[in-house]
């Protein structure tokens, strides 16, 4: 009989399926700002620490093209003077060093295709193509205060469309700023009114036209913010909401990223392979044609 304590869970050595390191790009650009920013890193061995600070990406070329115009992105090497390496005099770079940006005007047009190319010595060139989608035809927003329970404030938010789209579409809804609260609230992503709508980032959710109430032409959402005091709650809530249509593929990508990050160490989640629209690399490239709405209760 074996009674070793490490019998049931033990460290093993295995030849994991390793591929050649690839470039991984997060490039979600927006048509409503001049500043275009994206993020480049690469795949590393899963059993090694990611040492974000020391890698220099200055030898990486990033270009955006619409077939006629081409712009190059600058490498934003930001030195984080707070973090130090093992040697006291070694200044390390923070994770922000993976940033690339460009603040030149670039013409974005609905329906037009754009190509992003990322090149780095020793790596396969990563190329992705995307299309600018039309802006979302929102008629109005309404925000209604529901109640405060144990410092959790609940609001009904209704997003009314001018016309209900005939085809299924996906939208990113982001609560950009909230005024009226002393503290910046956190919205739960467990939203039972807008079912199956994962948070894809802090304060951003993904909804689809499946959720539209045909009678009211609107999507009803329940917002819950925590750490709200009675005084906070008595103030009038005003929020800025950003809405952009995203493609089915982008929605799938965002949902999967969310699920991966939420399901770490959960054995009851089926394994997930993250999609990419890059050829020769990983990550996602998208251009959002979003709009910002001020909404007050």
């Amino acid at each position: 009989m074996t009674s070793c304590s490490d019998y049931f869970e033990k460290e093993i050595n295995a030849d994991l399926p390793n591929e050649k390191s690839q470039l991984a790009v997060s490039a979600i650009l927006r048509t409503d700002t001049i500043l275009k920013r994206l993020f480049v890193n690469r795949t590393v061995d899963i059993l090694k620490d990611i040492d974000y600070g020391v890698e220099d990406y200055s030898n990486t070329e990033v270009t955006l093209s619409d077939g006629t115009n081409t712009i190059a992105f600058d490498y934003d090497q930001i030195v984080d003077t707070i973090r130090f390496g093992p040697e006291p005099d070694q200044i390390r770079l923070s994770g922000r060093s993976f940033n690339f940006s460009n603040d030149d005007y670039f013409p974005f047009e609905v329906g037009k295709k754009y190509t992003l190319k990322v090149q780095r010595d020793g790596y396969e060139t990563a190329i992705a193509e995307t299309e600018v989608l039309p802006s979302v035809a929102i008629e109005s927003f309404s925000l209604i205060k529901i109640g405060l329970n144990e410092n959790v404030a609940t609001y009904d938010l209704r997003m009314r469309f001018k016309e209900v789209p005939t085809e299924k579409k996906y939208y990113k809804v982001r609560f950009v700023e909230l005024e009226g609260f002393y503290r910046y609230p956190y919205f739960y992503d467990n939203d039972y009114t807008v079912s199956n709508t994962p948070s894809i980032d802090d304060n951003a959710i993904l909804v689809s036209t499946d959720l539209i109430d045909e009678d009211t032409k609107s999507i009803n959402m329940t917002l819950r913010a925590n750490e709200i005091t009675d005084e906070d709650f008595d103030n009038t809530l005003q929020t800025k909401i950003y809405v952009a249509e995203v493609s089915k593929e982008r929605a799938d990508y965002e949902k999967k990223v969310h699920n991966i990050l939420e399901s770490t160490d959960n054995p009851f989640i089926s394994p997930l392979i993250l999609p990419t629209n890059f050829i020769g690399g990983l990550g996602y490239f998208s251009i959002e044609n979003g709009q910002v709405y001020w909404v007050s209760e």
């Binding site: 019998y7 460290e11 050595n13 399926p17 991984a24 993020f39 089926s270 394994p271 392979i273 990983l282």
Partner: protein, 809 residues
């Protein structure tokens, strides 16, 4: 062979005019489907074959006329019918483990012979002394394995809990899931593709204790038959296999019983006549009792934390059956199975002024029942009419809260429920016009009711509310109509052909399917035959489950207007041969499956929303080669099985649309099962299994992804994802295990007592249950501790001993 010790009834059959219409229809079928045989005057010998000691009907007993060299076998209800030319016949009746008998007489009219065969020995019933039942090379049906229940009981198992499923997992073409799991993966199919029938009633959740034990109490079972391919037309509704389990009918001669005590459960079985030779009963019950034994310790543990409470797990099951002989030609049966698993943890603070409480319960279980009427209409026509009910239900409730002075001040509760419920009616006929044709036909209708999963969330307190998220229940009707013929074309060629038609009505959608089934047997020599089969199957209901984890939360769901029914076709080629006491069969198969159902990548167990949004449909294929060498008789009996197989899946929305290996794709599977009678009262049994490691999904690389707005915060440093190249791209280490057991029997004044002791995983092989990416502490030279990623393997069972005590009376 003896000519004396048998029980015989003879009577002249007089067909009633009221059945003439039925006969005309059957004659029509015969003309169309059968090769005509023009003979002189012929008469039929029919009846049933039973165990002389208990009255239990014997399935697939062999009947053979030594004069005409023709014969047949009894059906699943013990009925047989053979037709011979008038004149002398020398009827030979035999069955595995029983003494054969020969009866010689002049056949001058239709004759009923109810035969009762005596078990060959009292103590060792697996050992064969007479000729076996129909030899493997003589059967048209291929890919079919029967294991005597007495042999199943001898196979050493985990904690000594004898288990039908664990025995079946040792057969070629059948794979288990994870370590200790009782799920059956047959020829690349998933467990929901197996039609598991208990007395003709489908059992939807065949597992106790999260899959470690099956729900079938071996003391209540009479017969087990597995059909992996070449599925006859009388079966339908599942893609991969049929596991037909019959409960004991109850001893019609005398009161018998058994009681056993094991490490985790106790069982008691009682059977006997209510009216001698007319009515019998059988009841059997089993319950685990770890929760009862551990209760005082758990209570004390709560008490030490100023709480009162209980926690535990148990399962029980109950089997019951009544069998009544209405007339010589009519029998009715009523059988019931009820089983339940319960996991509970309930506690509260001792302080009642400000009391926190917690009630967590998870319950699931099946109930099945059937009412069956068997009738012998004419010596050649037998019918089985059956009404069935089957229900699987899961219920959970989790409540956490605070009571202030006995008033509920705050808290929350979450209830979840799901299930499936069926009613069905079926009528099946066996018509045996002559020894060259055996026709089966019938009709079935099933009313399904699905409960896909309902959440009920309650928030208690001042601003409490209740919210129910219900997915609409679904009702559906399933219809099946079939006809098959087992036809002898010549002395060397037999053909089994048939057609299974089915329909499924759900909401406003109606699906239908015609499924041809063909099996061919050609005898190359007296002891060698070549076989082939083609089977097309359709499945209208699906089990939505997570690969590798057999949870009661798995959902049974129907095909809908969005989810298409699953289809498959399978082709098999094989050879079968008997070498003296050994049977050898070799088979190769190819199976193609379409519209298989799977959760989308990343879907979770308790997600809300329409389940149809969380699933994908795709295709699968499986092919392989199986070898089985079996010795059913002698002091040393058992089998050696080997399987080489390959199975994969292709889903548009999974693995980026690329084909990937099925999780239970195993290249090699070997099983060696042996039972040796050391002395008449001592048996040694062993089983050794080997299998290629299960496929798992692992990544070798990782990278970071930014948030959707590229707004970086400290949290973004944690947005690390694995670069998984392909699903199921890695193999865990190979699996192997040796189980060994020994049993000692002793005749006592009032019965036979048996002590069994043994070991599961005798050499404590650390077989992997799963592998995950964990971390380990690493201390640098300057004493800073950090955590480094590392691969870890989880193993469930080391060497586990068992001991059981049983008393048969």
């Amino acid at each position: 062979m003896k000519k004396s010790d048998f029980y015989i009834e003879k009577s002249l059959f007089s067909p009633a005019n009221t059945y003439s219409f039925m006969k005309h229809i059957l004659i029509f079928y015969t003309l169309i489907l059968s090769v005509s045989h023009l003979y002189g005057q012929r008469y039929t010998i029919s009846g049933n074959i039973s165990d002389a000691s208990s009255g239990e009907m014997l399935i697939s007993a062999n009947i053979y006329d030594l004069v005409s060299q023709e014969g047949g076998s009894s059906n699943e209800y013990g009925f047989y019918s053979v037709t011979f030319p008038t004149g002398e016949v020398e009827m030979h009746y035999s069955y595995i483990g029983y003494e054969s008998i020969v009866l010689t007489f002049n056949l001058l009219k239709d004759t009923t012979l109810n035969i009762a065969l005596k078990p060959s020995t009292v103590l060792e019933e697996v050992v064969i002394t007479g000729e076996a039942k129909e030899k493997v090379e003589n059967r048209t049906q291929m890919s079919t394995i029967e294991i005597p229940i007495k042999q199943i009981k001898k196979i050493p198992t985990l904690l000594g809990e004898t288990d039908v499923f664990k025995a079946i997992q040792l057969l070629p073409g059948v794979q288990s899931g994870g370590e200790g799991q009782s799920g059956l993966y047959i020829r690349g199919g998933s467990p929901d593709q197996n039609l598991v029938l208990l007395d003709g009633v489908p059992v939807y959740n065949a597992a106790h204790l999260f899959g470690f034990f099956s729900v079938f109490n071996t003391d209540a079972i009479r017969d087990v038959r597995l059909i992996k391919g070449g599925i006859p037309a009388r079966y339908g509704g599942r893609l991969s296999s049929v596991l037909d389990i019959s409960m004991k009918e109850g001893n019609i001669k005398e009161l018998k019983g058994s009681a056993s005590v094991g490490l985790i459960s106790s069982k008691v079985t009682l059977e006997g006549p209510i009216l001698k030779d007319r009515t019998s009963f059988m009841v059997s019950a089993r319950r685990t009792y770890l929760d009862l034994l551990a209760r005082p310790i758990i209570k004390q543990s709560y008490k030490n934390n100023d709480k009162t409470g209980v926690a535990g797990y148990y399962f029980y099951d109950f089997n019951g059956k009544i069998n009544h002989k209405l007339t010589d030609n009519d029998r009715i049966y009523f059988s019931i199975y009820s089983g339940r698993d319960a996991l509970y943890q309930n506690s509260k603070d001792i302080d009642t002024e400000n009391q926190y409480f917690e009630d967590n319960n998870l319950n699931w279980g099946n109930i099945t029942s059937s009412l069956r009427w068997n009738r012998l209409w004419t010596p050649k026509l037998f019918s089985n009419s059956i009404l069935t009910f089957s229900r699987f239900k899961l219920g959970t409730d989790f409540t956490y809260g605070q009571r202030v002075n006995d008033t509920l001040a705050s808290g929350y509760g979450l209830d979840y429920g799901s299930g499936i419920r069926d009613f069905s009616a079926k009528i099946a006929f066996d018509y045996i016009p002559n020894t060259s044709n055996s026709i089966k036909f019938g009709f079935q209708i099933i009313r399904h009711h699905f409960t896909p999963g309902t959440f009920d969330l309650s928030v208690y307190g001042k601003d409490g509310y209740e919210k129910e998220i219900t997915q609409a229940d679904i009702d559906a009707n399933e219809y099946a109509l079939y006809m098959e013929n087992d036809m002898k074309i010549s002395d060397n060629i037999k053909l089994n052909y048939g057609l299974h038609g089915s329909g499924f009505q759900v909401n406003n959608e109606f699906y239908s399917s015609l499924q041809p089934r063909v099996g061919l047997r050609c005898k190359a020599s007296k002891s060698l035959s070549l076989k082939a089969s083609y089977t097309r199957m359709r499945q209208y209901i699906n089990l939505l489950s997570f690969e590798g984890v057999g949870l009661p939360t798995d959902l049974w769901l129907p095909a809908t207007d969005r989810v298409l029914p699953q289809d498959s076709w399978q082709m098999a080629l094989g050879a079968a041969r008997t070498f003296e006491e050994f049977e050898l069969s070799a088979e190769a198969y190819y199976k193609d499956m379409t519209n298989l159902l799977s959760y989308n990548e990343g879907s979770g167990v308790f997600e809300t929303g329409d389940w149809q949004d969380r699933v994908s449909q795709g295709d699968g294929k499986s092919y392989g080669f199986e070898l089985l060498l079996q010795r059913k008789q002698g002091r040393l009996n058992g089998w050696i099985g080997y399987t080489w197989s390959k199975s994969d899946r292709t889903f548009e929305n999974i693995n980026r649309g690329r084909t990937y290996p099925f999780k239970y794709d195993r290249r090699h599977d070997i099983s060696i099962v042996a039972n040796y009678e050391l002395r008449p009262n001592i048996d040694i049994s062993g089983a050794w299994v080997y299998g290629t490691g299960n496929a798992v999904t692992l990544s070798g690389e990782k990278y970071r992804v930014a948030g959707s707005d590229l707004v970086f915060s400290d949290n973004d440093y944690n947005r690390v994802v694995q670069n998984i190249q392909s699903k199921n791209n890695f193999r865990m280490r190979d699996y192997h295990r040796l189980d060994l057991g020994i049993s000692f029997k002793k005749e006592k004044k009032r019965g036979v007592r048996t002590w069994s002791v043994g070991f599961y995983n005798l050499y404590a092989r650390a077989n992997p249950l799963y592998i995950f990416l964990g971390d380990k502490e690493v201390k640098s030279e300057d004493g800073i501790v950090r955590y480094q990623p590392t691969l870890k393997q989880v193993t469930l069972f080391p060497c586990v001993p068992y001991v059981t005590y049983k008393f048969d009376f």
